[in-house]
C-alpha cells in the first residue's frame, strides 16, 4: 500500500479499528447512503476538460487512472470505485448542471475534487443543502475551510493567503527595507495571494510595495508589465502568475537585466513546465514554497514515494506527463480520498464520510514533502496547511528552513 502512516499511529488506528469492529458487531449492520453498496462506491467529479482551463483536465484523468489501480488491487474494503467525471468547461452554470446530474441522476455518494474557485463557489450551496460531501476541492482559495457555515465542504491544498503571508514574513526578516513590486493575475486567485502578502507585511505594506501591476489572462505577453515594474526601482519581485505568464516574467526580467530578489507562487513552481521553459540561468535564486515533490527534480530520483508514483504511471497512466505538476496533484489527492474511504469501513453514509475526512491524523502521502502531513479535525477543514520555502539552484529546488504552517505565521 502506498500510504504510509507512522507506525505508532498505525498501531493506534488498528486498535481503534478493532474497537470499532467490536462495537460494530453489536448491531453488525453495514450502513449505506445513496451511492454506496456492498460492491460499489460511486464518486462524482467535475473538471474543465475543455475551455480556457483545460490544462487542469489532466487531474481528472489522473484520478480516474488511480482509482483503476485501486480497483485492480481489489478495491476499498472489497468495494470497487465507480468514478464519474463530467466536463464543466470551467463554467459555473455548467458546473451546477453537471453536479445536479451527479447527485440526482447518477446518485453518487460524494463529489470529489471538483476543480476551480468559480465552479466550487457555484455548487457549494447546493451540495451543502443536499448534505452531499464536497470533498478536497481543487482550489487554493481561502474560503473552503469554514466548517461552521459549510459543514459538507472541505479544501485540500494549502491556501494562497497563507503562502503569501509566508513570503511576507521572509521579506520582513531578510530585507526589512525592501522596495517590492508585485505582478498578479487579475482575478480571485491573484488577489487572494496579494491579500495574504499584504496581511503578512502588516502596517508596512503601504510603504514597502512600490509597484503593483495586474494582467489579464487574455494578454499575449506581459512584457510591458515587467518593464514598468523594473522602472519602479524595486529590489524584490513577487510573481503571482499562472505557469505561462510566470515563465514569461522570469525570462523578461532576465532579458532587461532586472535582478531583484524574486518570489514565485507555488502555482507556478514546476521545474518542467515553468523554470525550464524560462531558462535555468534566468531562474537562479528564485524563492518559492512547495508541499508536493516535483517529479522533474533530481533530488527525488531514488525516493521511495516517487518510485511508487512512477510504477503507477507506467502501469495505469502511461499517457500521463510526469513533468506536469497536475499529475502529481491528482495522484496525491486520490490517495487522500482512498484513505478516507478506508477509514469509513462499512459505514458508508455521507455523514460518516465527512466525519472520517475530518479525522485524518498525520497522514503522509507518497508525494508530499517530507515533514508535511495531512491533519484535519471538526474545526479544521484545511487538510494541508504547511509548506516549505525553497530556493532554485542549478537545476533543482533546494528546500530551506522549517516546514511552515499557517498557525506559525499568525
Amino acid at each position: 500500500m502506498s500510504i504510509k502512516v507512522r507506525s505508532r499511529l498505525a498501531a493506534l488506528s488498528a486498535a481503534t479499528l478493532a474497537v470499532t469492529m467490536m462495537s460494530g458487531a453489536a448491531f453488525a449492520q453495514k450502513k449505506y447512503d445513496t451511492g454506496a453498496t456492498d460492491t460499489e462506491i460511486k464518486i462524482g467529479n467535475i473538471m474543465p476538460y475543455s475551455g480556457p482551463a483545460s490544462a487542469y483536465g489532466v487531474i481528472g484523468k489522473t484520478i480516474d487512472a488511480y482509482f483503476k489501480k485501486i480497483n485492480a488491487e481489489g478495491g476499498i474494503n472489497g468495494r470497487k470505485i465507480s468514478f464519474i467525471s463530467y466536463d464543466d468547461g470551467y463554467s459555473p452554470p455548467k458546473a451546477v448542471e453537471q453536479v445536479r446530474k451527479l447527485v440526482e441522476s447518477d446518485e453518487v455518494l460524494l463529489v470529489f475534487d471538483p476543480l476551480g474557485t468559480p465552479s466550487n463557489t457555484a455548487i457549494q450551496k447546493y451540495l451543502n443543502q443536499k448534505k452531499v460531501p464536497q470533498l478536497f476541492v481543487a482550489t487554493g482559495a481561502t474560503k473552503w475551510n469554514d466548517p461552521k457555515s459549510f459543514p459538507w465542504t472541505m479544501g485540500w491544498q494549502p491556501n494562497y493567503q497563507t503562502e503569501g503571508q509566508i513570503y511576507a514574513k521572509y521579506v520582513l526578516k531578510e530585507k526589512p527595507n525592501a522596495k517590492i513590486a508585485v505582478l498578479y493575475q487579475n482575478d480571485d486567485y491573484g488577489k487572494d495571494y496579494l491579500k495574504g502578502f499584504k496581511d503578512g507585511l502588516g502596517a508596512k505594506a503601504a510603504s514597502m510595495i512600490v509597484a503593483e501591476s495586474s494582467y489579464e489572462v487574455s494578454e499575449p505577453t506581459i512584457d510591458s508589465h515587467i518593464v514598468k515594474l523594473k522602472s519602479s526601482g524595486a529590489d524584490v519581485f513577487f510573481n503571482i502568475a499562472t505557469p505561462k505568464f510566470a515563465a514569461q516574467a522570469i525570462k523578461k526580467a532576465a532579458e532587461i537585466d532586472w535582478k531583484p530578489m524574486q518570489f514565485l507562487n507555488n502555482v507556478s513552481a514546476s521545474i518542467g513546465s515553468v523554470i525550464k521553459p524560462a531558462g535555468f540561468e534566468n531562474a537562479q535564486g528564485i524563492i518559492s514554497a512547495a508541499y508536493l515533490k516535483d517529479a522533474t527534480d533530481q533530488q527525488w530520483k531514488n525516493d521511495a514515494g516517487m518510485k511508487r508514483f512512477d510504477e503507477f504511471l507506467a502501469k495505469y497512466f502511461p499517457e500521463g506527463n510526469r513533468i506536469d505538476l497536475n499529475v502529481i496533484f491528482g495522484y496525491s489527492v486520490s490517495q487522500t480520498m482512498v484513505q478516507v474511504l478506508k477509514q469509513a469501513g462499512d459505514n458508508l453514509t455521507r455523514a460518516n464520510v465527512m466525519k472520517e475526512a475530518a479525522s485524518l491524523k498525520d497522514l503522509e502521502l507518497d508525494l508530499l514533502l517530507p515533514g508535511i502531513k495531512i491533519n484535519t479535525g471538526p474545526t479544521d477543514f484545511a487538510p494541508i496547511s504547511s509548506v516549505q520555502l525553497m530556493r532554485f539552484k542549478g537545476d533543482t529546488w533546494e528546500r530551506f528552513g522549517d516546514v511552515l504552517s499557517a498557525d506559525a505565521t499568525n
Binding site: A55, S218, P220, S224, K228, K244, A247, I256
Partner: protein, 291 residues
Amino acid sequence: MELFTNQVLSGIATGAIYACMALAVVMIYEAIDHLNFAQGEMAMFSTFAAWQFMQWGIPYWGAFVLSVVLSFAAGIAIERALFRPLGHASVLVQIAGFIALFAIINSVAGLIWDFTIKPFPTPFGSTPLLGGVISSHQAGMIAVTILLLGFLYVFFSFTRVGLAMRAAATMPESAKLVGVNVGWMIALGWGLAAAIGAIAGIMIAPVIFLEPNMMGGVLLYGFVGAVLGGLSSPAGAVAGGFIVGVLENLAGTYIPGVGNELKLPIALAMIIAVLVFKPNGLFGRVQVQRV
C-alpha cells in the same frame, strides 16, 4: 523619459506579434471576404508541427519549411473538405463552421501535445538589444514581418494570381465572367493564409511559449490591428499591429488609476474613434459602390 522609450520599444516588440498575425488575417480576408476565427488555432497547430519535427531531429530551417509547406497543403485541404460545401450557405453558417474548426483544432492539439508550456527555439538568439528592451529574436521577428509584408505586397499588386484572388474575393461573379477560377482562388487563399499563420506562429512561440491556447489573445489583437490598419491592406495591417502594441503599453503605463486594468478597452476605444472617421481603416482602400 527612459520609461517612455522603453514602453514604446517594448510595444513595438509586442506589436510585431500582432502584426504577424494581422498579416494572416488580411490574407484570408482578401481570399474569402470573411474573418476565419480558427486562424489562430491553425497557426498554433502548425507551430506544434514544426516543434514535433524538431523533436524528431530535423534541423530548425528544415522543420520551418516543412511546417509551412504542410500548412499550405492543409489549408487547401480544409477549404476543399469543409468550406467548399458551405460556400453558398449563409455567413452565420460559415461562422459556426469557423468556430467548430477552432474548437476541434484546439482540443486535438491538447490531446496530442498536452497543455504544459514548451519552449520554442529561435534562429536569431535571445541577446538583449537596446538595453534589453528588445531581444534579438524580437528584432528578427520584426524583420520577418516586413519581409512577409513585401512578399504579400508584390503578390497582390503585381502577380496574375494575386490580382485574380482579389477579384475573386471582392466580386466573384465578375471574376468568373473574366475567366478566373474562383473556387481554386479561395482554396489558394486558405493555403496561403495557413502558411503565413505557420510563419507567424513559429515567430511568436519563442516569446509567448508553445501551448494549445497560445493564440487566443494574439488573434484578437491581430484582428484589431488588421481592422485599424485596413483589412484590405497588408501594410496597413502591419502598421495597425504596431500601433495597437504601442498604444496598449502607453495606456497601461500613463493613464493613472484604471490604465493598467483597462488598457485593452482604452486601446480599443481609441481604435473605434479612428474607425468612426475612417471606416476602412487608416490605410484601407475606400470602397466605392457604383449605383
